[in-house]
């Protein structure tokens, strides 16, 4: 059977026996005590609930702040790492720019190729120079032959001068002094030519010896450079394979970073959704507090006050100690209660709707 606690109509009169009256008195006394305690308990529970809500919100806000701070720092770290691996410039509007790791590898590889190429060029130039020296040597041989001829000519002229002098003396005609003088001059010229030929030949020999040494050194250098260049080329090829592998590794790392970034983004979304449940839970608890606890508290308080009022107005109906307790509690402060708000349904429909 339901009773309306707000109904103030007096109950119908009834005949009550002495034994029943005692039992009724006990029940009323118990009801009064129980309703007072329950009312206090409900009020206390409401306050606790409110505090729990406030504390959970404060905790969630702290977690949110830390979460944001961590995400900002992680974001900066990731950006720096990715920038290092990619060809991004270090800062917007920054004066100095630097190479990313793949670019650095490419530049290094290019430089090595250039050095090897130059070494090969040098080796080829040395070989060309050796060929030129061969040509010079051939020319020097020709000059040598010409000098031989010149020498032979000088010898023939001297002999011719001598023979002419002898022949002229044997004929014994005229003044031979001017003729002898001319013959001597021819002989002298021939000797000078002979001497010059000898000196030229000596000079040529010296040049040939120097050129020989130079050629020998150049040949050795050229050989060494050629070997070094070939070795460098092999090394660079090997290095290219390594750098290529490194570049691939960088690409794989970047892909890994991107994939990790996507996973982190999904995790962040989950955290954001999870964090919202604090607010949702808080609202629902607040709803319970208002709807259930406050209305229960109000109902109990109403029933308690009405019973107490009746007992105090009719003290002869109740034992003295019960009446005394009620008088003492008259001044006790009671928590005010507000009317419960309209309930919120749990009907679920479309989560997002644009009108």
């Amino acid at each position: 059977m339901d009773f309306d606690v707000t109904d103030t109509t007096p109950p119908p009169a009834a005949v009550v026996s002495a034994g029943n009256l005692v039992a009724l008195q006990l029940l009323v006394a118990q009801w009064l005590e129980a309703s007072r305690q329950a009312g206090d308990g409900i009020s206390s529970a409401g306050r606790e609930l409110h505090e729990v809500n406030q504390q959970s919100e404060a905790a969630a806000v702290n977690i949110g702040n830390s979460f944001r701070s961590i995400m900002d720092k992680t974001g900066h770290q990731m950006e720096s790492a990715v920038r290092l691996l990619r060809s991004d410039s270090p800062a917007e509007g920054g004066g100095s720019s630097w190479l990313s790791l793949p670019d650095f590898i490419k530049a290094y590889e290019y430089q090595l190729d250039e050095v090897t190429k130059r070494m090969m060029d040098f080796s080829q130039a040395s070989q060309e120079m050796s060929k030129h020296q061969d040509v010079v040597r051939q020319h020097s041989v020709s000059i040598d032959e010409m000098l031989d001829e010149l020498r032979a000519m000088a010898a023939r002229i001297r002999k011719l001068a001598l023979d002419s002098t002898v022949a002229y003396s044997e004929q014994g005609n005229g003044d031979s002094r001017w003729f002898i003088e001319i013959a001597d001059r021819i002989r002298e010229t021939s000797n000078t030519a002979h001497e010059l030929t000898r000196r030229i030949r000596d000079g040529l020999e010296n040049i040939r010896a120097v050129m020989g040494n130079t050629y020998e050194e150049l040949d050795k250098s050229s050989g060494r450079v050629r070997l070094a260049a070939v070795q460098a080329k092999v090394d660079v090829s090997q290095l290219n394979i390594t750098t290529l592998e490194k570049a691939r590794e960088v690409t794989r790392t970047l892909e890994g970073v991107n994939s990790l970034g996507e996973e982190i983004r999904r995790e962040i979304n989950s955290i954001i959704v999870g964090m919202q449940y604090q607010d949702i839970t808080q609202q629902r608890l607040e709803h319970i507090r208002k709807l259930v606890l406050e209305s229960a508290s109000a109902s109990l308080a109403g029933a308690y006050e009405r019973t107490r009022h009746e007992v105090l107005n009719n003290p002869e109906l109740m034992p003295v100690d019960v009446v005394q307790r009620l008088v003492e509690s008259r001044n006790r402060n009671k928590d005010g209660v507000a009317a419960a708000p309209a309930g919120r349904g749990a009907t679920q429909s479309v989560d997002i709707e644009l009108f």
Partner: protein, 122 residues
């Protein structure tokens, strides 16, 4: 980059909405209730407003109606973000002039997708 005003009495919710939206490159201003929101809306022009419905003082639906009275906010997209999902509440929001209704908890990707839809292209 859009200038966005978010209103919620729950600081956690404001944080989460702010984090999601600012991470996408938008500028965010927060308000804890309708009065603060109206004050902000009058002091600067926002491209989008996202408001809770149940708040102390004026509700989000009342805020929408107030904002629609301001000449600068006649056509500004206003989204309501709430745990409420009853059709009659949605109808009240629509009647007040709300552009859309999002039920909490929101998915960040879905929220950003809605923003892209309602924000002007430029």
């Amino acid at each position: 980059m859009a200038n966005i005003l978010i209103i919620d009495d729950s600081m956690t919710m404001r944080q989460m909405v702010n984090f999601t939206i600012s991470a996408a490159g938008h500028k965010v201003t927060e308000a804890a209730n309708a009065d603060e929101a109206l004050q902000s809306a009058q002091s600067q022009r926002f491209d989008l407003v996202i408001s809770d419905v149940n708040m102390p003082g004026r509700s989000g639906i009342e805020l929408v109606a107030e904002l629609r009275k301001l000449p600068d906010y006649k056509f500004t997209p206003i989204l309501l973000l709430t745990t409420e999902s009853q059709p009659e509440m949605k109808n009240k929001g629509r009647a007040a002039g709300a552009t859309g209704w999002i039920v909490k908890p929101f998915d960040p990707d879905a929220l950003l997708s809605v923003l892209r839809k309602v924000l002007p292209a430029n």
